[in-house]
């Protein structure tokens, strides 16, 4: 990159002498209004933490690699293409040059219309600065986007002629010049310039290529859209030789040739990208439904979602599965949960994460750690259905945990467990929001065509998905991401963003945010808030806003949900049908008295001796049950059902079993004889104590089970001889808070913070610029120059850029102060490396030992 560096230095030097135009990014920022600064800080909130002291520091920070990568990731495809084009354009590039790179020689009205917006966006984000006649991409962005053999450019362009010939012998260059038919010159620089000029001249280049053989042209064809590198043998075929002789291919190493950028651009008709995409793809409509159909379908699904969550947590009422030592649920428990809910494991994971995200379930934190519903679940149960729905949907929207990953493997090949660690994906809330927003752009009732929706999502953040494919906790991989994303091959596999978008569509349907693929009314209400605030729940303002929106959505949903019924239909085949969702106390009571056979809009219950016994066990008497059924049945209680209850009740409690001594007593001594005579009772270790009492060796619970297995219906008895009532206690965790989303990067600043920050930076900047002239005075007096740390850094960085020498004050490890004149070459990691004119060698100084720095007058070098 040596020549490019020289090139840039020349331009910078030129710019320095130009005067009025901004010399550096800092100056460009300084020239902005407060609004412009606020816009920058809003778009790149990472620049705000901590708030920079002044504009120089802000500009420095805006040029750091991490920040630039983050900003590039947030660009849409066209802005990114614009930046990529700038990276292969001369620096600085006038606007027409940039336009030509994007449109090619033919021109394209769409691009012409879109480009000013893209440039303005890049400028706002401080990725590009300078006036239209000299647009500059910040150096880090240029390094990230410009081509090098290690990572080919997304444009597929190779290095320029000047860069590619940098290491070539002058004699070789002369040969090329001669073969290309250019007048000979002995100066290598002018030779390269002449060659460049030839390659950029469309007419002369056309004439040159007219002489090429078809084979030679097909070689060029293969390289023109990149990658521009090709392997050659030491004695290449004649067509390659022909191209090499004329400099149309230049050697990179003994076996590799490259197509110079100018030649490729000529062959491409001047275009940097094969397919510029100036306009966002439109989200298409797959099918139109009546909005009522959509709303009712969505409401049906919302109702189903509530039922599923309730069913899930009810099944964990006595305590859920164990927490794995590494966190999360075991695969077996997930399978079991899936079977309970009668859904796939993937879906079961979704419902689990939904409950977890809403704070309805958590680990109980005991030594033997298990999952269980939280106290918040009990509160949740008492809410009206629409409210319950809102409490599920609002956390889902902002959660960074993504259920879709469950079952996949992390970077180390370990399976990601449901409710386990490493499920947070920072882009998730933004993607969810954006998908729903895009759905909202369609007219009510229109179901989006997923293909176009995903295309739009990809267009909006082309780099983001690939960059975040690895978990955010592995920063190395994450920061390495953009480089990978420039590899066109990685686009083929589905990136995280697309997967997130897919999951969002599926999950929105499950939650009843969409019905039949179209956004439902309540979901529209939920979305009625700016994205930035929703994405940062830590920000208090956003939270209130979201809960208000969720409340509005719930109000809209409430009338659409099926109304709860307070009766059932009893039938002679011992079933009861609740023709709609049952009111809670009724549903709970019935769930004890009968087994659920089928769920959905209605519920079908079946009465069995077992279920009736369960009800009797829970302390209700036969007459209670009769009254209950009569009160809640629309139809007369069928005789077989009444008989079933009486029959079970008659036997129920006939046998009594003591807990303390484990005994069986029964007024009917034949029964005891019967039990004793039964061979199956042997395991229970029974012994007749009295005609009506048996003692057992086993504990009362096994005794109960054993006798029940033998077909009896014994009741447990307390020490006082009363029947023990077995009613299930609900198991809960201690009070738990829901997991807080882990957003990517710092929160978006609000207006007040932005204003304050801008003011602070301005003030700091004024102070910094005010003292700026002072170091000049001590420089002449021979004392140590003193400047602030930020000033020092900025100055040595500028010097490194321009290659100029500076005068520094330096304190060595022993505390001895000295003055030195150095030409900084590299500034990194708190060290400045440069040629020390005083010592006449290259040295490295720690920045914190430099007391100050001053520029030299030109005659001092």
């Amino acid at each position: 990159m040596g020549i490019g560096e020289l090139d840039r230095e020349a331009h910078v030097a030129e710019a320095t002498s130009a005067g009025a135009a901004p010399r550096t990014l800092a100056e460009a920022l300084r020239a902005r209004g407060d609004e412009g600064l606020a816009a920058l800080l809003r778009a790149r909130p990472d620049l705000l933490s901590p708030v920079p002291n002044d504009l120089t520091q802000l500009a420095t920070r805006a040029g750091t690699r991490g920040s630039v990568v983050r900003a590039l990731e947030r660009l849409d495809r066209f802005a990114l293409q614009t930046a990529e084009a700038l990276a292969v354009a001369p620096d600085p590039a006038p606007y027409p040059v940039l336009l030509a790179l994007l449109t090619g020689d033919e021109g394209d009205p769409e691009i012409e219309a879109a480009l000013p917006g893209a440039v303005a966006l890049l400028r706002e984000q401080a990725l590009v600065w300078g006036e239209d006649d000299r647009l500059r991409l910040v150096r880090t962005a240029r390094e990230l986007l410009s081509p090098s053999p290690q990572h080919p450019s997304p444009t597929g362009l190779g290095p320029t002629v000047a860069e590619a010939t940098a290491g070539m012998s002058p004699g070789r260059v002369q040969e090329i010049i001669a073969t290309a038919g250019l007048p000979p010159t002995h100066d290598p620089v002018s030779a390269v310039a002449a060659l460049t000029e030839l390659f950029t001249d469309r007419a002369r280049m056309g004439a040159l290529l007219d002489e090429a053989s078809p084979e030679a042209l097909s070689v060029l064809d293969r390289l023109v859209w990149g990658p521009p590198y090709g392997e050659v043998t030491p004695n290449p075929a004649p067509p390659v030789q022909w191209l090499r002789d004329r400099g149309l291919l230049l050697p990179v190493s003994a076996r590799t040739m490259v197509l110079p950028r100018e030649v490729a651009l000529h062959l491409r008709g001047g275009r940097a990208h094969r397919v510029p995409e100036p306009v966002a793809p439109v989200v298409g409509t797959a099918r139109d439904y009546r909005p009522q159909v959509v709303d009712s379908a969505a409401a049906g699904q919302a109702h189903a979602a509530l039922a599923t969550v309730e069913e899930l947590l009810k099944s964990w009422d006595q305590g859920g599965p164990q927490v794995l030592r590494a966190g999360g649920m075991s695969v077996r428990d997930l399978k079991r949960t899936a079977a309970t809910l009668d859904v796939t494991e993937q879906l079961a994971a979704f419902w689990l994460e939904l409950c977890f995200g809403a704070g309805l379930l958590a680990s109980d934190g005991e030594a033997d750690e298990r999952y269980a519903p939280t106290p918040a679940y009990d509160d949740w149960l008492d809410l009206p259905p629409a409210e319950r729905w809102a409490r599920l949907v609002a956390p889902w929207l902002t959660a960074t945990r993504t259920a879709g990953l469950v079952g996949g493997a992390d970077a180390k090949g370990r399976t990601l467990a449901a409710l386990g660690p490493d499920l947070d994906r920072a882009p998730a809330p933004e993607v969810r929001h954006r998908v729903l927003e895009l759905l909202a752009t369609l007219p009510p009732g229109a179901a989006a065509d997923p293909g176009t929706l995903f295309a739009r999502m990809r267009w909006e953040r082309p780099l983001r998905g690939a960059a975040q494919a690895a978990p955010p906790r592995a920063p190395q991989t994450a920061s390495g991401g953009p480089d990978d994303s420039t590899d066109p091959a990685s686009d083929a596999s589905l990136d995280l963003r697309s997967r997130l978008a897919r999951w969002t569509l599926a999950e929105a349907e499950l939650l009843g945010l969409t019905g039949r693929g179209a956004l439902a009314g309540p979901a529209r209400a939920l979305l009625n808030l700016p994205l930035a605030e929703a994405a940062t729940p830590a920000d208090h303002g956003g939270r209130v806003e979201l809960s208000v929106a969720a409340g509005r959505a719930a109000t809209l949903l409430a009338p659409l949900l099926p109304e709860a019924v307070d009766h059932v239909l009893l039938q002679a085949d011992l079933t009861a049908v609740a023709p709609g969702p049952l009111r809670r106390p009724l549903a709970d009571a019935l769930a004890v008295l009968a087994d659920v056979e089928s769920k959905g809009g209605a519920t079908v219950y079946r009465f069995t001796p077992g279920s009736v016994r369960r009800a009797l066990d829970s302390g209700r008497s036969a007459s209670d049950l009769h009254d209950f059924l009569t009160a809640h049945s629309r139809t007369p209680v069928p005789q077989p059902l009444a008989y079933l209850i009486d029959d079970v009740a008659r036997k129920h409690g006939h046998l009594r079993i003591g807990a303390a001594s484990a005994y069986v007593r029964c007024d009917d001594d034949t029964v005891l004889g019967e039990i004793l005579a039964d061979r199956r009772s042997a395991a229970l270790g029974l012994r007749r104590l009295a005609p009506t009492v048996l003692a057992a060796q086993t504990d009362p619970a096994s005794l109960l089970d054993g006798l029940r297995a033998m077909g009896y219906a014994p009741a447990a008895e307390s020490a006082e001889g009363d029947v023990l009532v077995t009613r299930a206690d609900a198991y809960r965790t201690p009070a738990r808070t829901a997991p807080v989303p882990v957003p990517d990067g710092p929160p978006a600043p609000d207006t007040t913070l932005l204003g304050a920050a801008v003011k602070a930076i301005r003030a700091g900047d004024r102070a910094a610029t005010a003292v700026r002239k002072e170091p000049a005075a001590p420089a002449t007096t021979g004392g140590l120059p003193r400047t602030s740390a930020a000033e020092t850094l900025a100055t040595v960085q500028a010097a490194a850029l321009t290659g100029s020498a500076v005068w520094i004050g330096y304190v060595n490890a022993e505390g001895a102060a000295s003055q030195r004149v150095i030409a900084p070459v590299r500034v990194e990691g708190g060290f400045v490396t440069g040629y020390d004119h005083t010592a006449d060698e290259v040295r490295t100084y720690p920045l914190h030992r430099i007391t100050g720095v001053a520029e030299l007058a030109d005659d001092q070098v």
Partner: protein, 546 residues
């Protein structure tokens, strides 16, 4: 939003029968949903892939199915279910079986990957021959049934366009003098004929023989009729002679005693499945004539070897007749895939409401075991337990009381255990028909019973099926084949023939309380309870007192 139908997430449909739109809704969902239960208030239908494919075969498309659900549903229909229905139905017709002018039977596809997928299956490979072109493969003609069954199991049902052979023509007409087919019988015949092959489900006593006769009159071809036993075969013959233009000479009986092959031949399952030296010598009956129609009576009893052979008869029209398509071995779907889909199904209570079968009062009588019996029951071996409680002496007393109560009416006492039946016969002074009773003796006794010479008949399970005893009004069941649902229904069927005086039929099931007899009884009653027969339960003591 106020329809009669509730769509459940497990793909059952609940139909509220008292709703004003219930009838319209029933008609709309009948083509694709199976009626599973029909108790008094809410009927349960089930949507199965088989039902959806049958609907496709009958010319309905997914849009119609979805519309029917959405139109009548009270609550929004889950989207996943609608998608699933559309996807399931779209699987039908990707493969077709048809006749190729030069290659014979071929399997063609409109979707090449499907053909690739099924050809890779190890079960399909032996059934197909050479690949004619990328979309067509030859099928061995004898494997037509087998491949259909296999493809169905793989989830890619083939549309069978290869048609039927007409068989040897033989003139058969219904002799409708003074009677005519009932409307539902006519519907059943039409439904069957339109569909080509299939199963007709009608309650016991609703006249399935006439549906068979109607189908024969449509086919006008030589017919093979498969029945459960010889008595039943004679009844078929008798009925056919009476109701059709066929004469005695045209109808042959192929049973243990006689081996006649005539234009209409009635064979028993038993003789077909007689195995000698490892082969079934009588199965060649299927090939002995160019049959135009094969009728399977009581198709739910179809024995496994006949299953296998039926698979090879796919080019002939097949009619299955049954009252209770429940098999405790769960092979209902084999019946559907080999004989054909259900073409007609009428809930029992509906036929009863039309007056074609007698209303029945079903009662479960619970008897208590005596103390000594209880002790003995508790110590009995597991396999002896049912026999012990089912044959308790108390049952005999209850049966005697019941016989006394209905004195003068025609009473059947039905049981499982011969000892018990012999004892009952002795006490009731009634003849006993059991396995060892000769056919001649059986017919004599049945005739005497029909004529009223005998009032009480004690029968074993040989009389479970197809015994036509129109005047029986009371059936007392003392024991049965464990928890068999269809046996219970068939036994009720013995008394369901409409009575001359419009009398109600009585069905008593005597059950020992607190034993597995009671558990089995509960299971046995399930089919009838689901058909809307509400059992009353009475205590034996109450009954004896009254």
């Amino acid at each position: 939003m106020n329809g009669p139908l509730i769509v459940q997430s497990d793909k059952t449909l609940l139909l509220e029968v008292d709703h004003e739109l219930a009838e319209a809704c029933r008609r709309a969902i009948a083509p694709f949903a199976e009626l599973e239960r029909a108790p008094e208030h809410i009927h349960t239908y089930r949507v199965t892939p088989l039902g959806l494919w049958n609907a496709r075969a009958a010319g309905h498309d997914a849009e119609q199915v979805v519309d029917a659900l959405v139109e009548y549903s009270r609550y929004p229909v889950p989207h996943a279910l609608l998608v699933d229905i559309a996807e399931t139905m779209a699987r039908y017709g990707r493969l077709t079986l048809s006749k190729h002018p030069t290659h014979g039977l071929v399997l063609t596809t409109t979707d090449r990957p499907v053909l690739e997928e099924i050809l890779r299956s190890r079960k399909v490979q032996p059934l197909v021959g050479e690949r004619i072109d990328p979309d067509t493969v030859v099928v061995h003609p004898s494997e037509r049934g087998q491949i259909k069954q296999t493809l169905l199991k793989l989830g890619w049902p083939a549309e069978d366009l290869a048609g039927y052979v007409d068989g040897e023509a033989h003139r058969i007409d219904l002799a409708e003098d003074g009677w005519s087919l009932r409307p539902y019988q006519k519907q059943a015949v039409d439904g069957f004929w339109h569909g080509g092959s299939g199963v007709v489900v009608l309650p016991c006593g609703a006249g399935k023989t006439l549906v068979g006769a109607g189908a024969m009159a449509q086919a006008k071809a030589t017919t093979l009729i498969l029945v459960t036993n010889t008595v039943s075969a004679r009844q078929w013959k008798h009925e056919l002679v009476k109701r059709t233009s066929l004469t005695e000479d045209e109808i042959g009986e192929y049973s243990g005693t006689r081996k006649e092959i005539r234009p209409v031949t009635i064979a028993t399952y038993q003789v077909l499945t007689t195995k000698r030296k490892g082969i079934y010598p009588h199965l060649e009956l299927f090939d002995s004539r160019d049959w135009g129609l094969i009728v399977y009576d009581e198709v739910h009893l179809l024995p496994a070897p006949v299953f296998k052979f039926t698979a090879d008869l796919q080019a002939r029209r097949r009619l299955g007749l049954t009252a209770t398509l429940v098999r405790e071995d769960g092979r209902e779907s084999d019946v559907f895939s080999l004989i054909g889909p259900k073409r007609f199904d009428a809930p029992w209570k509906e036929i009863e409401a039309q007056g074609y079968i007698a209303p029945a009062d079903c009662v479960e009588v619970r008897v208590n075991l005596t103390d000594s019996e209880r002790l003995a029951y508790a110590t009995a071996e597991a396999e002896e337990k049912y026999r012990f409680c089912a044959t308790t002496a108390t049952k005999r007393k209850v049966t005697e009381a019941l016989v006394k109560k209905f004195a003068g009416q025609q009473i059947l006492v039905i049981g499982q255990y011969i000892d018990q039946l012999d004892e009952l016969g002795e006490h009731l002074d009634a003849p006993v028909i059991k396995g060892e009773t000769s056919n001649k003796e059986r017919e004599r006794l049945f005739d005497a019973f029909r004529n009223g010479e005998i009032n009480v008949l004690v029968v074993s399970k040989v009389a479970n099926f197809s015994i036509d005893l129109p005047e029986a009004t009371v059936a007392i069941q003392v024991s049965g084949t464990f928890g068999s649902r269809q046996e219970e229904a068939q036994r009720l069927g013995r008394v369901l023939r409409p009575k001359a005086d419009g009398h109600q039929a009585h069905f008593y099931s005597v059950v020992a309380r607190d034993t597995i007899d009671q558990d089995f009884a509960a299971h046995r009653q399930r089919f009838l309870a689901e058909q809307g027969y509400a059992y009353r339960i009475v205590d034996a003591d109450e009954l004896m007192e009254s």
